[in-house]
């Protein structure tokens, strides 16, 4: 689950809960206030009506009609009273003969008329067991309140949606440094940059600084390891050169052969140590086209005496995720091998890209080689230099580097130039 989704979910949920609680309270408030107000009015009317009771000459208690508020006299006004005096019932004119329900106790009650009209009803007990019921219909109020509620819900939903959208934008803005960091990491992977840029966000700075530090440390370690091995190679090779150049070795073929074998083993093992390390696969990206340019410059000088024409087909820039040393070693060995065997021409074609990995094809116009045997040598666990004299160490090294990067090496006859065609396919780096 992404940070964005997680924040959006929990913020959204809490926002929804807040709206719900607020809505419940707000929705109830007008009803409570209004009913309180109605209850006060009912109490006043009850007091008024009770005060207008008086005894007639024949000893009966009666309501003084002049004192009755006109609203109780208009039929269907929604304001009613019922006076129970002993056995007698006095109904307001507005009641149109319908008796009010009698609640069991004194006080305020929600009741209904027989036709279902909701009422707020006050029972007011008078001395001598007489009862005054006074009520007001709630139909109109309910209708108003339901309109209010409808609008309230609509506005609330609109606000909620607006807040969600604002929250989404806010999250995107707040998380942008993370997104930029991710993009920078991808560019680092493609080799477009060498270290992560300093982020604007203070919280991210130590993280990025730590990462860059680690990157630099890694590069330094790799560099030191390689230099250490180069020093070792130097230390071993000079005495070996002395032995090879010495008159005794020149004179004795057995000594010379043994020295050449030692030489081969030294070179192979040093090479293997050089790129067999885990670092090879944590490589950052480099430009393969630039590396090829460097190599061709060297190739043209090394093979200057034989005037080999090197022909290159590559895009202007070709980012690949590889150690530069490894790529140079791979292409260098394959090109050198091709140049050794070529009569006059070597052609190299690079294609691919960050997403697709790298495809390199190297062809020469030399005598070619037994491609079947080259293609199957590794399956039988043989090394190419054991199998095919001459087409040897260079191809073996090429194969080992390709294997370290999880790629494929394929040999066939070059249809155009007629010699050997070596195809290298390196997959995009596994994340």
């Amino acid at each position: 689950m992404s940070l964005h989704a997680r924040l959006a979910l929990w913020l959204g949920l809490s926002l929804a809960l807040l709206f719900l609680l607020h809505g419940l309270v707000t929705e109830r408030a007008p009803r409570i206030t209004t009913e309180d107000y109605i209850a006060t009015r009912l109490e006043h009317d009850a007091e008024w009506l009770a005060g207008s009771l008086h005894a007639t000459e024949d000893g009966r208690v009666e309501l003084d009609r002049a004192w009755i508020p006109p609203i109780y006299q208009r039929p269907g006004s929604g304001h009613y009273y019922l006076l129970r005096l002993g056995e007698r019932l006095l109904l307001s004119a507005s009641s149109e003969g319908r008796a009010l329900p009698l609640p069991p106790s004194e006080g305020l009650h929600h009741e209904r008329l027989p036709d279902g009209t909701p009422l707020l009803l006050l029972r007011h007990d008078l001395p001598d067991g007489d009862i005054l019921l006074i009520a007001e219909g709630l139909g109109e109020l309910n209708a108003h309140l339901s309109i209010f509620r409808g609008r309230f819900i609509l506005i609330s939903l609109a606000l909620f949606a607006l807040l969600l959208a604002a929250q989404f934008l806010l999250l995107r803005w707040a998380l942008r440094p993370l997104r930029e960091l991710r993009e920078a990491t991808e560019r680092l992977g493609r080799g477009e940059i060498e270290r992560l840029p300093e982020p604007h966000l203070r919280e991210l700075r130590p993280l990025v600084a730590g990462f860059n530090g680690l990157l630099a440390q890694q590069a330094e370690r790799l560099r030191r390891a390689r230099h250490g091995l180069a020093d070792l190679a130097h230390a071993l090779k000079t005495p070996l050169s002395v032995l090879l150049a010495s008159p005794s070795a020149q004179a004795d073929p057995i000594t010379r052969q043994a020295l050449e074998r030692i030489e081969g083993i030294t070179q192979r093992e040093l090479r293997r140590a050089r790129w067999g390390s885990e670092e090879a696969r944590q490589a950052v990206g480099i430009d393969a086209a630039a590396a090829l340019d460097d190599l061709l410059m060297a190739m043209r000088r090394i093979h200057a005496a034989r005037a080999i024409a090197f022909e290159a087909h590559a895009p202007a820039s070709l980012p690949v995720r590889m150690e530069r040393e490894d790529l140079l070693e791979l292409l260098g060995n394959l090109l050198d091998n091709a140049a050794k065997w070529a009569r006059s021409r070597v052609r190299v074609t690079l294609s691919g890209g960050a997403g697709e990995g790298l495809v390199a094809v190297i062809e020469d116009d030399g005598p070619g080689a037994e491609v079947e045997r080259l293609n199957h040598a590794h399956r039988r666990g043989q090394r190419l230099d054991e199998q095919t004299p001459g087409h040897g160490l260079g191809l073996t090294i090429g194969r080992e580097i390709v294997a370290a990067y999880g790629g494929q090496l394929h040999f066939e006859r070059a249809t155009g130039l007629g010699g050997l065609k070596v195809s290298v396919e390196l997959p995009p780096r596994v994340e």
Partner: protein, 224 residues
Amino acid sequence: MRILLAEDDSTLARLLRDTLRGAGYAVDIAPDGIEADFLAREGLFDAVILDLGLPRRPGLDVLRDWRATGLDLPVLILTARDAWHEKIEGFRAGADDYLTKPFHAEELLARLSALLRRARGQAPGPLSVGRWRLDEASQEIRPADGPPVALTHFEYRLLRLFLLHPDRVLSRAWLEERLYDESHEGGSNVLEVLVNRLRGKLGRETIQTRRGQGYLFASGAGQP
């Protein structure tokens, strides 16, 4: 021709010097970077064989310095550093060729010879001027219409210098500098003796004396 060999391993340097002398080069040895730099700037050498792991001053630094100051004599790097990125570094510093240790003497000689040829703008292949062709392997001179003529070691050295600079007046001092290295104690008339012996083998007109200036190899002349 005179070669500067910058190599810190004294055993290897001695063996290489013998090999190079055997192939007809005069050889001086510089055991460290500072000495190599000093000697190369004397202008006596036709080429440098440069080890990269030199004490006191790294070979690459020395080479970069030479190129930065316009010293353009041919340089062949001879080193144990055999990775391609190291070779590229070497070429970028201004090397003309690169050979990795351990190596075979034949390859070094072939590369050195090709390098010297290239530096003079000559086509690869056997050195030939006019009707003469020099065989570097057997150290013989072949005329176009006759049997090969055997040469002694110093005759071969001198003749190669003439063939590399045909139809040009070469001073005695210039020739002696390139014929011998610092260890050689040449007599005062050794050069004259050598020239006379070559005239005997190739014909009197081939090598002309320019009084007070030196000698000249005439590419068109010299019927035996």
